[in-house]
C-alpha cells in the first residue's frame, strides 16, 4: 500500500520553527492561544475506563491518558514504557520454566497529579480485575495467573500455573491509579460507579481528560507531569461526528485534523486534498468463517465445495473496486500479523478461476440437473448456502457481489444480515452464528494481536446448551485443535512459528477460513502535523511528539 509509509522523521526539524516565529511577534498572544489538534470521531466512547470498554474508538485513545507497561511502535514491535525493559528469558525477566515473569518499573513514572506510579498500582489493577464486584468486561488474561506480587515499589511478580505464550500481547494494557480508585472501591464495594471511569482527569499518559460533553465532544489537555516530556500540542479535541460523510466533510474543510475508519472510497479525495493517509496493519482481516459443524449444509462441509467457492470469488476486484486498491486479498487470518511471519510459505493463494471451480463441483458430483442454474447434489438437493454477516455497507456490498459470482458457478447464496448485537448473541439467544444457522459468516477479526494466538477453533469452545457462550461457531477439527493447544504453551518463538505454519496451511487448503481482504486501520491526517506515527496496537503511542508545522 503506497500511502502506508509516510516519512514523518523528515518533518521533525520543521517542528521547531513555528515555536519561534510567532513567539517573536506576539509572545503574549502566542502563549495564550493553545495548539489544538482536532479529531473527527465517528463513534463516541462508551467509557474511558480501560476495563469497562472494548470499544475500538475508546481503547485507541488509551495512549493519550493512560499508559501500558510496554507499548508498540509503528512496526508493531513492543518497547518498554513503564518497565525498565521487556522481560525475557535472557534478561531474567522470565523464569526458565516460563512460570514466573518479573517486571522492574522505571523510577521516574508519576501520575498526572504528581503521585508516583508504583507496583502497588499494578497489584491494585490486578486485584480490581479479579474482584467480581467490579464486573469488568474481561478478566483475560489475568485469570490465567495464580497471583501478582509487589515485593517492593518497583517490582511486580506474575506467577503462572503453566506457561503462557501470549503474555506480551495481553498483560498490563492500562494501569489503574490506586490512589484515585481505592477510596471509591472502599466506599462503594466496587469501582464501577467511580467518576474516574467517565472522567479520567488523572492519568499517566501525555494528556488528561479535560471535558466530555455527551454527544458533542471530548477534550484532552496536556499532562504537565508527563515523565517522557510534555506534549507539544496543548489540547486534543475530539469532535463526535455522526457518520462517515460528516467526517469526510470535516477533514476536507480542515475542521478536523485527523480521522479514522474512513470509507475507502473517500481516500482519493483526501489525497487530492493534500491530506496524508496512513494504512496501519492492526491484525484485522475480513474473511469468511466457514461453518463445518453438523448442522451446516452438507455441501459446505464438503471440502471440494469450499475449494470451489474459494476460486469463484474475484477478491482482487473487491479490493480494487470496492476498496479502491487500499488493501489486498489475503489467504489466512494471520497475514497481517508480524509481516506474515506466521503464514506458511508453502501456501498457494486461491486464484479467481470460475471455470476450475465449476469443474471441481462437476467432479464432486454437483450438477445442475433441472436447468435452473443451480447445481444439485446426488440426492437432488439444490446447492444453497446461507451467508450471514453484520449490517455494514461494505459487507452487504460484498454479499451482493458474492451472491452473483457464486451463482455463476451454480451455487445459490442466500444472504442475510443482522445487527451485531444480535449476530454475535449467544447460543441461548438463538443468534444465527452460535446456533449454526449460517454456512458462511463474514466479519473482520484478529488474533490476540500482535500475538497470533486465538481460541476460536478450539473444540471446547463449541457452543451448546451446556456451553451457551462458546464462540467456536465453526466446528471441531481434532487435528487443528491439537495444533492450537500446542502453540498456547510453546514459549519458544521459533517452535511456535512452526506450529502456526502448519495451522495456516491446513486452514487455507481446507478453506476453513477464507480471507477476503486485509483490514488495516486507515488514518487521515492533516499534512501540517509533524511527527505523526501510528502503531497497529497502540495507535497514538507517540502523540506527545506530534506538533503543527507552520
Amino acid at each position: 500500500s503506497p500511502a502506508a509509509t509516510p516519512e514523518p522523521a523528515a518533518e521533525q526539524p520543521s517542528a521547531e520553527q513555528p515555536m519561534e516565529e510567532p513567539a517573536a511577534e506576539t509572545p503574549m498572544e502566542e502563549a495564550m492561544e493553545p495548539k489544538v489538534v482536532t479529531f473527527a470521531w465517528t463513534q463516541e466512547p462508551d467509557s474511558l475506563h480501560p476495563f469497562y470498554t472494548n470499544m475500538w474508538f475508546s481503547a485507541t485513545l488509551q495512549q493519550l491518558y493512560l499508559c501500558w507497561a510496554w507499548e508498540y511502535d509503528d512496526q508493531n514491535i513492543a518497547y518498554p514504557n513503564l518497565v525498565e525493559e521487556i522481560p525475557s528469558v535472557e534478561n531474567g525477566g522470565i523464569s526458565d520454566d516460563g512460570l514466573t515473569i518479573t517486571l522492574t518499573l522505571r523510577d521516574d513514572i508519576v501520575w498526572s497529579d504528581g503521585t508516583p506510579l508504583t507496583s502497588a498500582d499494578f497489584k491494585f489493577t490486578y486485584d480490581m480485575l479479579m474482584d467480581d464486584a467490579n464486573s469488568v468486561n474481561s478478566k483475560y488474561p489475568y485469570d490465567a495467573l495464580t497471583s501478582v506480587e509487589a515485593p517492593d515499589e518497583r517490582t511486580v511478580v506474575m506467577n503462572f500455573p503453566e506457561p503462557f505464550a501470549a503474555w506480551e500481547a495481553n498483560f498490563w494494557r492500562g494501569i489503574l491509579p490506586k490512589h484515585i480508585l481505592q477510596p471509591v472501591y472502599d466506599a462503594e464495594g466496587s469501582m464501577m460507579g467511580a467518576d474516574w471511569n467517565m472522567n479520567p482527569t488523572v492519568g499517566c499518559g501525555p494528556y488528561v481528560l479535560d471535558e466530555w460533553e455527551s454527544g458533542s465532544y471530548m477534550r484532552f489537555t496536556k499532562n504537565e507531569n508527563y515523565w517522557k516530556g510534555i506534549a507539544k500540542i496543548d489540547d486534543v479535541f475530539l469532535q463526535f461526528v455522526p457518520d462517515d460523510a460528516a467526517q469526510t466533510a470535516a477533514l476536507l474543510a480542515g475542521d478536523a485534523d485527523l480521522g479514522t475508519f474512513i470509507p475507502a472510497s473517500d481516500v482519493p479525495t483526501f489525497q487530492d486534498a493534500g491530506l496524508t493517509v496512513f494504512t496501519v496493519d492492526s491484525g484485522y482481516a475480513e474473511g469468511w468463517f466457514i461453518n463445518f459443524r453438523e448442522m451446516a449444509s452438507p455441501a459446505i462441509r464438503d471440502v471440494e465445495v469450499r475449494q470451489a467457492i474459494a476460486m469463484a470469488l474475484d477478491r482482487q476486484a473487491i479490493s480494487d473496486d470496492l476498496l479502491l486498491g487500499l488493501t489486498h486479498p489475503i489467504e489466512t487470518l494471520w497475514d497481517p500479523i508480524a509481516g506474515g511471519a506466521y503464514v506458511s510459505p508453502d501456501i498457494v493463494p486461491w486464484e479467481y478461476n470460475p471455470e476450475a471451480a465449476k469443474t471441481k463441483l462437476e467432479n464432486a458430483g454437483y450438477v445442475d440437473s433441472d436447468g435452473d442454474g443451480i447445481r444439485e447434489d446426488l440426492d437432488g438437493n439444490p446447492l444453497v448456502l446461507v451467508h450471514g454477516t453484520t449490517i455494514r455497507e461494505i459487507r452487504q456490498d460484498i454479499q451482493a457481489v458474492a451472491q452473483q459470482q457464486l451463482r455463476e458457478i451454480g451455487i445459490d447464496l442466500a444472504i442475510e444480515s443482522q445487527d451485531s448485537d444480535i449476530f454475535f448473541g449467544g447460543y441461548a439467544d438463538g443468534a444465527p452464528p452460535a446456533i449454526g444457522e449460517q454456512d458462511i459468516m463474514e466479519w473482520s477479526d484478529s488474533t490476540y494481536f500482535p500475538d497470533p494466538d486465538t481460541d476460536y477453533w478450539l473444540c471446547d469452545q463449541l457452543p451448546s446448551e451446556e456451553n451457551p457462550y462458546g464462540y467456536n461457531y465453526y466446528g471441531c477439527d481434532e487435528a487443528l485443535d491439537a495444533l492450537f493447544q500446542a502453540q498456547l504453551v510453546e514459549t519458544d518463538p521459533a517452535a511456535r512459528q512452526a506450529i502456526f505454519h502448519e495451522i495456516t496451511k491446513y486452514m487455507h487448503d481446507n478453506v476453513l477460513w477464507y480471507g477476503i481482504y486485509s483490514d488495516p486501520d486507515l488514518w487521515v491526517v492533516n499534512s501540517n502535523l509533524t511527527g505523526v506515527k501510528f502503531s497497529g496496537v497502540t495507535p497514538f503511542y507517540n502523540i506527545w511528539e506530534w506538533d503543527f508545522a507552520n
Binding site: 474481561s138 467517565m198 455527551s214
Partner: protein, 344 residues
C-alpha cells in the same frame, strides 16, 4: 379538580405497568448487550458468562423485570458464580427513582445519560413546536377562510406534499441545497451537522445557525399536518349553527371569525399538540441522526443498537410518563379553555 388529577394519575399506573412489561419483554429478548462488549472481537465465553451473572442477565425475565422495577437491595446476588448468592444487591428500582446503570457505559447512571442529552433535544423541539403552532394556525385559518381560492389550493397542495414527505427526504434535500450547493455556488450556506463548529465553540450564534436546518425540516413536516387539521376544523366550525347565529346578530365578519370561530377551531389543536409534545422528548430520531444533533433520538438509536436495556427502557418510560402527564395537562388546559368540560 385535585381529586380528578389524583384519579387520573392513579389510572395511569396500570397503563404504565402494561407499557413497561411490554417493552421490557421486547427489549430483553432483543440482542445481547454482552455480544458486542469484546469490541472488534467476539466477547470471550468466560467473560460473557461472568458478566451476564454479574449484571443479572442470566436471571429469568420476571426477576429481571422485578429488579428493574423495585430493585434488588432486598435480596442477595451471586457475583462470583459459586452458586450461592452472597452479595447484597444495590439497585433500588425504577419505582424508587433508580433507572439503573447503563450496560454498555458500565456504571453510568441512566438518569445522567438522559439528562446529558435532554436539553439539546428540547432546544431543538420547543422552538419547532412554537413555530409549527403559530404557522399552522395562521396558514390553516387563512386557507379555510379562502376555501377554493388559488391560495387555498396552493397551500393545500403544499401541505399535502409536506405531509407526505418522509422527514429524511426533506432533510437530505435541504442539506443538499442549503449546505452543499449553496457552498458550491459561493452563497452563504448553512452548517449541516452538529450543534456548533468546534473551531468557533458553543456560542449562541453557532447553535442557532446549526438549528436552522433541523428546525426547518421538522417544521415543514409537522406544520403541514397541523395546518390541514386547523383548516378542516375551521371549515367545520364556520358551518356550525352558532356561526350563523353570530352572523344573524349582524357581527362583522372579522368578529365572527376571531370572536366566535377561532376559539372553537383552535381548541382541538390543544389535543393534538398535547399528544405530540411528549414525543418531542424522544427527539426526532431521524432528524437528529441526519443532522448529528446530540439529542435523545440519537441516544436512543445508539443504545438500542447495542441492546442497552436500562437506557432504552429509561427513555421509553420517560416518554410514556410524559405522554400520560401531557394528556392530563391537555385535559386540564382543555377544560380551562372549554367551558363545556369545565363545568361538568
Amino acid at each position: 379538580m385535585t381529586r380528578y388529577i389524583i384519579r387520573r394519575i392513579l389510572q395511569a399506573i396500570p397503563l404504565l405497568f402494561i407499557i413497561s412489561v411490554l417493552l421490557f419483554v421486547l427489549m430483553i429478548n432483543t440482542g445481547d448487550p454482552l455480544s458486542t462488549m469484546g469490541g472488534r472481537r467476539v466477547t470471550r465465553p468466560e467473560d460473557r458468562e461472568r458478566l451476564s451473572r454479574q449484571l443479572g442477565l442470566d436471571q429469568p425475565i420476571y426477576k429481571q423485570y422485578l429488579f428493574w422495577l423495585i430493585g434488588n437491595d432486598w435480596t442477595k446476588v451471586d457475583l462470583d458464580g459459586d452458586g450461592t448468592a452472597e452479595t447484597q444487591g444495590t439497585r433500588k428500582g425504577i419505582l424508587r427513582g433508580d433507572f439503573g446503570t447503563s450496560m454498555v457505559q458500565r456504571g453510568k447512571e441512566v438518569t445522567d445519560i438522559i439528562l446529558d442529552r435532554l436539553p439539546n433535544t428540547l432546544l431543538l423541539m420547543i422552538p419547532t413546536e412554537i413555530i409549527v403552532i403559530a404557522l399552522s394556525l395562521a396558514v390553516g385559518v387563512y386557507s379555510a377562510l379562502r376555501q377554493y381560492s388559488a391560495t387555498d389550493h396552493i397551500i393545500t397542495g403544499l401541505s399535502f406534499i409536506g405531509y407526505s414527505m418522509p422527514i429524511f427526504f426533506i432533510a437530505l434535500v435541504s442539506m443538499y441545497i442549503f449546505g452543499v450547493n449553496f457552498k458550491a455556488w459561493g452563497l452563504p450556506y448553512l452548517p449541516t451537522v452538529g450543534m456548533f463548529d468546534p473551531k468557533v465553540g458553543k456560542t449562541t450564534g453557532q447553535v442557532i445557525q446549526h438549528m436552522i436546518l433541523p428546525i426547518f425540516s421538522l417544521t415543514v413536516i409537522t406544520a403541514a399536518g397541523y395546518s390541514r387539521f386547523v383548516r378542516s376544523q375551521m371549515l367545520e366550525v364556520i358551518s356550525e349553527d352558532y356561526i350563523r347565529t353570530a352572523r344573524a346578530k349582524g357581527l362583522p365578519n372579522r368578529m365572527v371569525i376571531t370572536g366566535h370561530a377561532l376559539k372553537n377551531a383552535a381548541l382541538p389543536l390543544v389535543t393534538i399538540v398535547g399528544l405530540d409534545v411528549p414525543l418531542l422528548l424522544g427527539g426526532a430520531v431521524v432528524t437528529e441522526s441526519i443532522f448529528a444533533w446530540p439529542g435523545m433520538g440519537r441516544l436512543f438509536i445508539d443504545h438500542l443498537s447495542r441492546s442497552d436495556t436500562p437506557v432504552v427502557m429509561g427513555i421509553l418510560m420517560m416518554i410514556s410518563v410524559a405522554v400520560i402527564l401531557s394528556q392530563l395537562i391537555t385535559d386540564i388546559i382543555y377544560a380551562w379553555l372549554d367551558p363545556r368540560i369545565r363545568y361538568s
